[in-house]
């Protein structure tokens, strides 16, 4: 769960325009990608906490 926090809360990691995808600077697609990332992380934790019940 900490992974997405660090990944998006430290702008030093992603404040670049390259590499860009289809004209979208890195700054933007990196953060958009992490939206999917966080959904996956939280989903994993949800299933883990549920299964061990």
């Amino acid at each position: 769960l900490l992974l997405p926090l660090v990944a998006v809360l430290v702008p030093e990691f992603y404040n670049f325009s390259n590499p860009s995808i289809g004209g979208v600077p890195f700054f933007y697609w990196w953060q958009l990608l992490w939206i999917v990332g966080v959904a996956v992380c939280v989903g994993i934790v949800y299933h883990l906490t549920r299964r061990t019940r």
Binding site: P4, G23, P25, I35, V38, A39, V42
Partner: protein, 577 residues
């Protein structure tokens, strides 16, 4: 520039508006409980929404006119810094997943309907509960106002100026929430979200296609922003502001009364947790919508309204749609924005009204004896009625705020609300996990944090206002030679925590209050320290039962904090099947 009035657009918006109104009234009958008059039924939909409805409700709740109007406006105005909304909605879910689930189970067990109920039960302090209630209501007002700004922006772009569309929206909103309660926005939210999703997909593919691709858009935005001294990347001095804003907004989000309402209206704890992993789908939408701000820059869209010095940037998304889409499509988009603003406004008004009825009206204006009597049917009905009336008053207040204030960035409304609401974090969230903090220390912390935040907000200037201009505090105000800004709420909440922590040992001589959520008052406070992440409630039930049998009276052996330590406290609120 006054845009021309288009009959087709107007007709579509009015038609959609009418359809939603009908739906709102129909909602009264939907999954109806025994009576709609009690607060439980009216204000929480009977606490029985499943995963899908909760998803739409919370989504409609958290992603609002703020999303379609304010965030793109911020990107349009200030470039990369406006994109903080994306990390904000990313970090919120890991942060609140367990807090929200735990809050659900405690509140469900004890029939709490608001955060202030929870605080009163947990800390046994009426003063603290009152502070929490007032904070929540005050912080919600600018948020409702933000929604209405969105509606006004749409009508302005359609060529209908003035404040009367706001009043019409207000009457419709008031009428259907009055009769249907939380069911109305829940049902409408489903329609609204489907509309919005379709619109966003169309917008993020059609507009770039028309303009010449994303490369062109970012290039155009960069050159337009450079002229204003901003850019599509952050500068070094913006890092701290960006991080604190994202983190702080995320922490504040689930403290708002309407978020609590959304969580508590779920059927089970499982629904709450599952939604935390499903809700980011909305964030993806938010990210794309934010980029509409750059599309507007690249398309050389000029905002409508405001003054030449401080143009009303909230209108840029409607203007963009108006200039790029055919009229019928623009009409549908406008309708979607208007409905998208009405739904959260309704939920917020209901939530704030719940808080008022439960935590201000009942204990202070109409104290009616013991707890048993309060649950009587008559009082429940009366409470429901108060709730309905207050929700109308609140909406009226929000319209008045909008009509009297004209702010450049609608978003600042929400950020200032966030600064205020985050001050209840120690009492509510930490209170869910520990009773170590003394109640009067928490009160003092609230006063310190709120006082400091308000002072900092007061000295913050903006282009249009001498005070309360922005929620970003410039460190240069302290005499530092730097352009670094920091989100005011973070500073306030740190002060809040420091004061609460320092004062707790100092106030140890005062008697501890009773904890309603724990039947055994004599248990030491450490018993709560176990479920730091709320994991073992769902994660270790069988061992917890065994251990409970092993230590029937004395509690756990010292030196360890096994789940059983929590057996008499919050941990016994197991999820419902």
């Amino acid at each position: 520039v006054i845009p021309s009035f288009n009959g087709l657009e107007f007709g579509i918006v009015i038609g959609m508006f009418a359809a939603v109104t009908v739906l709102g009234f129909v909602a009264t009958r939907w999954h109806r409980g025994a009576s709609l008059t009690s607060l439980e039924e009216w204000g929480l939909g009977g606490r029985k929404f499943g995963t899908t409805v909760s998803w739409f409700l919370m989504g409609g709740d958290l992603y609002t006119a703020y999303t379609f109007v304010a965030v793109p406006a911020l990107l349009f105005g200030t470039g990369a810094a406006g994109f903080f909304a994306v990390p904000y909605t990313i970090v919120v879910f890991p942060l609140v997943m367990f807090v929200a689930a735990r809050m659900w189970s405690v509140c469900n067990e004890h029939g709490y309907a608001t955060a202030a109920d929870l605080v009163r039960g947990r800390h046994g302090s009426r003063v603290l509960a009152l502070l929490v209630a007032i904070t929540g209501i005050v912080a919600t007002m600018p948020y409702i106002a933000l929604q209405l700004t969105g509606i006004r922006a749409v009508f302005e772009v359609m060529g209908i100026g003035g404040d009367w569309p706001l009043w019409v929206a207000f009457v419709v909103l008031a009428a259907f929430t009055f009769t249907s309660g939380l069911r109305a926005p829940a049902l409408v939210a489903i329609v609204k979200d489907i509309l919005i999703y379709v619109m966003v997909l169309v917008a993020v593919s059609y507009i770039p296609y028309k303009l010449g691709g994303y490369g062109f858009i970012f290039h155009g935005a960069q050159s337009a922003l450079a002229a204003k001294g901003y850019g599509t990347l952050l500068t070094g001095s913006q890092y701290l502001g960006y991080t604190t804003l994202a983190l702080g907004s995320a922490l504040a989000l689930f403290l708002y009364p309407h978020s609590v309402t959304g969580v508590l209206a779920s059927r089970s704890q499982d629904v709450v947790k599952k939604n935390m992993s499903l809700l980011p789908a909305y964030s993806l939408m938010l990210g794309f919508i934010a980029l509409l701000g750059y599309m507007a820059l690249a398309a050389h869209v000029k905002p409508v309204g405001g003054t030449a010095k401080a143009p009303d940037t909230t209108t840029i998304v409607p203007v963009l749609f108006n200039s790029q889409f055919p009229h019928w499509l623009a009409g549908v988009a406008f309708g979607a924005i208007v409905i998208g603003a009405l739904v959260p406004a309704a939920i917020m008004a209901i939530a704030a009204a719940n808080t008022f009825a439960r935590d201000i009206y009942r204990p202070y204006i109409r104290p009616s004896g013991s707890y048993r009597q309060e649950v009587s049917k008559f009082v429940a009905m009366e409470e429901g009625l108060v709730c309905q009336i207050v929700s109308v008053i609140l909406k009226l207040g929000a319209v008045a705020v909008i009509v009297s204030l004209k702010l450049t960035f609608a978003l600042e409304f929400q950020l200032i609300g966030g600064v205020i609401v985050i001050q209840i974090l120690p009492a509510v969230v930490l209170g869910l996990y520990t009773r170590w903090f003394h109640r009067w220390a928490l009160v003092a912390g609230w006063i310190a944090g709120m006082g400091l935040s308000v002072c900092m907000l007061y000295v913050t200037k903006s282009a249009t206002a001498a005070h309360f201009g922005s929620a970003s505090f410039a460190l240069s105000s302290l005499g530092l030679h730097t352009k670094v800004t920091i989100w005011t709420g973070i500073v306030g909440v740190v002060a809040n925590l420091v004061v609460a922590t320092v004062l707790t040992p100092l106030l140890a001589w005062l008697p501890r209050s009773r904890d309603e959520t724990s039947p055994d008052e004599t248990q030491p406070a450490i018993r709560i320290a176990g479920p730091v992440l709320g994991l073992q409630r769902s994660g270790a039930q069988p061992p917890y039962r065994r251990q409970q049998a092993a230590w029937p009276v004395a509690g756990p052996p010292t030196g360890s904090v096994p789940p059983a330590a929590d057996a008499k406290g919050l941990g016994r609120h197991r999820r419902r099947a």
